[in-house]
């Protein structure tokens, strides 16, 4: 007998530099420290049965990460959250947990979209994409930010946003517009958007910004984009284009 759970967790602070494979290793050890009755695979080097919904790039923070995990006993979801938070370290926190019905599909197969908050770091304003800190004065910077907001707005308002996506098969031009489900640009240039996600037509925030930068004729360095993932969504069954978080809080 086993029980499948979906855990929502956040990843903030310095731990944003820990890659997703290492986050998996971290979660396995945390589960053990928490003494959760984890279900293990067979064989000489058994491992926990876990799957992460969607990898997050190194350097990105998130309030909406999801992990499916299998336990051998039933534990109250709140207890899982509490027990994990007792042994968690800086930056990673269990936020919510649900017991999944039998044969529920994995989070990674459900994902349809992701909400992000995207901002540009200083280097992008100063035109120093190699990462050197800008020496612009505050005034110049705020001007640049306003400018950025306006340009982003224009960019996203187009009917068609042609982007060049590099895949295993080579370069491919796609239209990003239908894959941007919702967006809002704040005065300071921060973009909040729901982007299509999952195995098909996945839109990486960096692709969006690379395309934007090309449209304003500037070079883009992925390190200058600060990515914060707010949540991951599935499509509400039968309702095309209506999304809900993988765990409704």
């Amino acid at each position: 007998m086993f029980y499948d759970y979906r855990l929502k967790f956040s990843k903030n602070g310095p731990i944003r530099f820990v890659g997703h494979l290492d986050v998996m290793r971290y979660m396995q050890k945390a589960n053990r420290r928490a003494g959760l009755p984890m279900c293990y695979s067979e064989g000489f080097s058994p491992h926990q049965i876990l799957s992460l919904a969607l990898p997050l790039s190194v350097g990105a923070t998130s309030d909406g990460e999801y992990l499916d995990m299998r336990l051998t006993k039933e534990v109250l979801p709140d207890e899982i959250v509490n027990r994990l938070n007792e042994v968690m370290h800086e930056g990673i926190r269990a936020e919510a947990c649900i017991l999944l019905p039998e044969h529920a599909p994995k989070a990674m197969t459900l994902i349809a979209a992701a909400r992000y908050r995207l901002t540009l770091r200083d280097a992008a304003f100063s035109g120093n994409p190699d990462g050197r800190i800008s020496h612009n004065t505050d005034k110049e910077r705020s001007l640049a930010a306003e400018d950025l907001a306006a340009r982003l707005h224009t960019f996203l308002s187009q009917d068609r946003i042609a982007a060049v996506k590099t895949t295993k098969k080579g370069e491919q031009t796609i239209d990003l517009k239908p894959l941007i489900h919702e967006w809002e640009v704040a005065e300071d240039g921060a973009l909040t958007a729901i982007l299509h996600a999952g195995s098909r037509d996945h839109v990486k925030p960096a692709l969006l910004y690379e395309t934007f930068f090309r449209s304003i004729d500037r070079a883009f360095s992925p390190a200058s984009l600060a990515v914060h993932r707010i949540d991951l969504y599935e499509e509400v069954p039968g309702e095309n284009g209506v999304f809900r978080p993988l765990i409704e809080m």
């Binding site: 820990v18 290492d22 396995q28 050890k29 053990r32 420290r33 000489f44 190194v58 350097g59 050197r132």
Partner: protein, 623 residues
């Protein structure tokens, strides 16, 4: 918003280097303290890349011990890899510790654990990036006290100029006293020279600047003397007398990234009863002291719980010699079965008992058996006092093949004292005999499409201080490579050569290791020049620039041959003779003579050889 957390580097810089996780700290069980509440800040450095440094159990022990003192905060720092090294230099960012991310140069102490000679240029890199003067004599009252510990400090002379202090022996015993002395000096107005002078009176502490050396015309050491009457002429090694009750961390650090030893390391004993004559660790940690079974069990459970690690490994020089091994393994295997923990068992002698245990915890088909005969013939194994016979190996292999294993790893050294062509030929011979044993033991129908796979590896013998071979000569690179070639030919000539793979080690690095292992103070200048010429990460094969090292020797008018090619006379004064490890020079010399006569010696449990370590009054000496 994005650089506002505690990190020393901006996101852009961190994202520009490989594995930024190496530099962010914040690992599970890392310790954060309030700097206002501590008196002593200690930066502990393993001068190599993070993944290697984090795997070292000595740091884990002292990190936990120091942080158990309320007035001390111990943090860690490792060698920044080349990419970050460049970033720090270019942006003039001082090297920082992982926990607080504060500059190392603001600390009270910077401690290095010196595990191998090839890390010396990395010590200079860390000092340099920290903005601490490389030479002890150039440091001011505001610079951290630079202290070294670990196996290389048993001949600290080649790096004497870079260190203010060395700690000779096991770190658990005297650091508290050192910190108290430091605090007392801070209170009364700190003066570096006065503090260092008083440190010399703490047992186990060696203050290199308080000694002077004289050399004979032929370059040999004539004398090494304290410069002041209150400075001891001999520094005695510190040891832990009761391992069962000594501090051992319950909550070791758990790195985010996969490191070399990604598991709980359970120390079951220190020291070794077997006096292999090439082995430095065997002499340095005498006498053998065991940790009680109870202490081992408790420690294992506590560490598994606090880390969440999925693997535990025994740590000792020769685990098979641990008296309670069967009980401990039963316990671990039972825990393993219940809690899904892997048990890994390095340094076990291959016999019926260990094979039985291993078959319970390993995938027999995938794992390999390891034998370390070290030398190809019985004659030479007697010279080095390695008590492993060909019969032992073949019997072990036979039983292992019956048990389903088919992979065997063999380790040898080339260039051991008295080695002849026949000894070298013996390497191919024994590898072939193992293959024959396989074919005789496992009938064709039972091989399941597999065959025996034998890997023979050779390293070049490097004589180390405080071993019976400290008098021995090393060989030139050409000679070494010739020996490797002969080994290869010997293997190729075997009937089953297709089943045997052969690897050998780089000879240039071995030579350099040999020079530093038995070097003297004059080498500090060479190391400094080599570092200034770009040498760093010398232990990393591809980073090793032999030509730059040779240029540094030349510039300083020193000949490497003097240090490694020469057989020492019985009465030569060695640069490390001022250290008393417990084992006497007279005993080592006797063993050297026995080696040359081809005679084996007993191990400590068979018969006490009177090595001198009995003066500690503990462990195997006082059964």
């Amino acid at each position: 918003m994005f650089a506002a957390d505690r990190l020393a580097l901006s996101d852009e810089l961190l994202l520009s280097v490989e594995k930024p996780e190496r530099y962010i700290g914040g690992e599970v069980n890392s310790v954060i303290k309030d700097i206002k509440a501590v008196d002593v800040r200690f930066a502990f450095c393993f001068p190599d890349v993070y993944e290697i440094g984090m795997s070292h159990i000595g740091i884990q022990i002292l990190y936990g011990l120091f942080n158990s003192y309320p007035d001390v905060w111990c943090e860690r720092v490792y060698s920044p890899w080349h990419d970050l090294d460049g970033v720090l230099r270019k942006n003039r960012i001082p090297l920082f510790t992982l926990e607080s991310q504060d500059p190392v140069r603001d600390f009270d102490f910077l401690g290095f654990t010196l595990q191998y000679e090839m890390c010396y240029t990395n010590v200079l890199q860390v000092l340099d990036l920290s903005g601490i003067p490389l030479l002890s004599e150039d440091r001011t009252d505001d610079d951290p006290i630079v202290i070294g510990g670990g196996p290389c400090t048993y001949n600290p002379e080649p790096i004497a100029d870079f260190f203010d202090l060395f700690y000779i022996g096991e770190g658990e015993t005297q650091y508290r006293r050192l910190f108290d002395l430091y605090k007392a000096h801070r209170e009364k107005g700190f003066q570096r020279s006065a503090f260092l002078r008083e440190c010399a009176r703490i047992p186990g502490i060696y203050v290199p600047s308080l000694y002077e050396t004289e050399y004979h015309e032929d370059g040999m050491l004539a004398a090494m003397k304290p410069r002041f009457p209150d400075v001891p002429a001999v520094v005695h090694r510190e040891i832990v007398t009761d391992l069962s009750h000594a501090y051992y961390p319950e909550s070791p650090l758990v790195p985010f990234i996969k490191v070399t030893q990604d598991r709980v390391a359970l120390e079951v004993m220190r020291g070794c009863i077997r006096g292999c004559r090439f082995c430095q660790a065997g002499q340095l940690y005498k006498p053998l002291r065991e940790k009680s079974l109870e202490a081992c069990k408790e420690s294992a459970l506590a560490m598994l719980r606090s880390t969440g690690h999925e693997e535990i490994s025994l740590s000792s020089l020769s685990s098979s010699d641990y008296s309670h091994l069967p009980e401990l393994l039963d316990f671990l295997i039972e825990t393993a079965g219940r809690e899904h923990v892997n048990v890994s068992l390095p340094s076990l002698r291959i016999d019926a008992f260990s094979l039985d245990v291993m078959s319970k915890i390993q995938d027999v088909k995938k794992s390999s058996l390891t034998f370390a005969p070290e030398a190809g013939s019985q004659r030479l194994r007697d010279v080095i006092n390695k008590g492993l016979t060909e019969e032992d190996i073949l019997r072990g292999a036979h039983e292992a093949f019956l048990g389903g294993w088919h992979k065997v790893k063999l380790y040898f050294m080339l260039g051991l004292p008295t080695e002849t062509e026949e000894d070298i030929a013996g390497i191919g011979d024994i590898a072939n005999k193992i293959a024959v044993e396989y074919f005789d033991t496992v009938p064709k129908e039972e091989r399941g499409g597999q065959s025996v796979e034998i890997t023979a590896s050779t390293s070049f013998f490097v004589p180390k201080p405080f071993t019976p071979f400290q008098w021995a000569a090393m060989h030139t690179q050409e000679d070494f490579l010739n020996r490797a070639k002969m080994t290869k030919q010997g293997i190729m000539a075997q009937l089953n050569q297709k089943r045997i793979r052969y690897n050998w080690h780089n000879a240039d690095e071995s030579v350099m290791e040999g020079v530093f292992a038995r070097g003297d103070r004059r080498l500090s200048a060479v190391i400094l020049d080599a570092y200034r010429d770009g040498c760093m990460f010398d232990a990393w094969g591809e980073q090793f620039h032999f030509d730059r090292w040779m240029a540094a020797f030349e510039k300083n008018g020193l000949d490497p041959a003097f240090y490694y090619l020469r057989e020492r006379s019985d009465d030569e004064l060695f640069p490390w003779d001022f250290i008393d490890i417990g084992v006497t020079k007279a005993f080592l010399l006797r063993e050297w003579k026995e080696a040359l006569a081809g005679r084996k010696s007993a191990n400590c449990r068979e018969r006490c050889l009177g090595c001198g370590a009995a003066r500690f009054g503990v462990g195997v000496c006082v059964r």
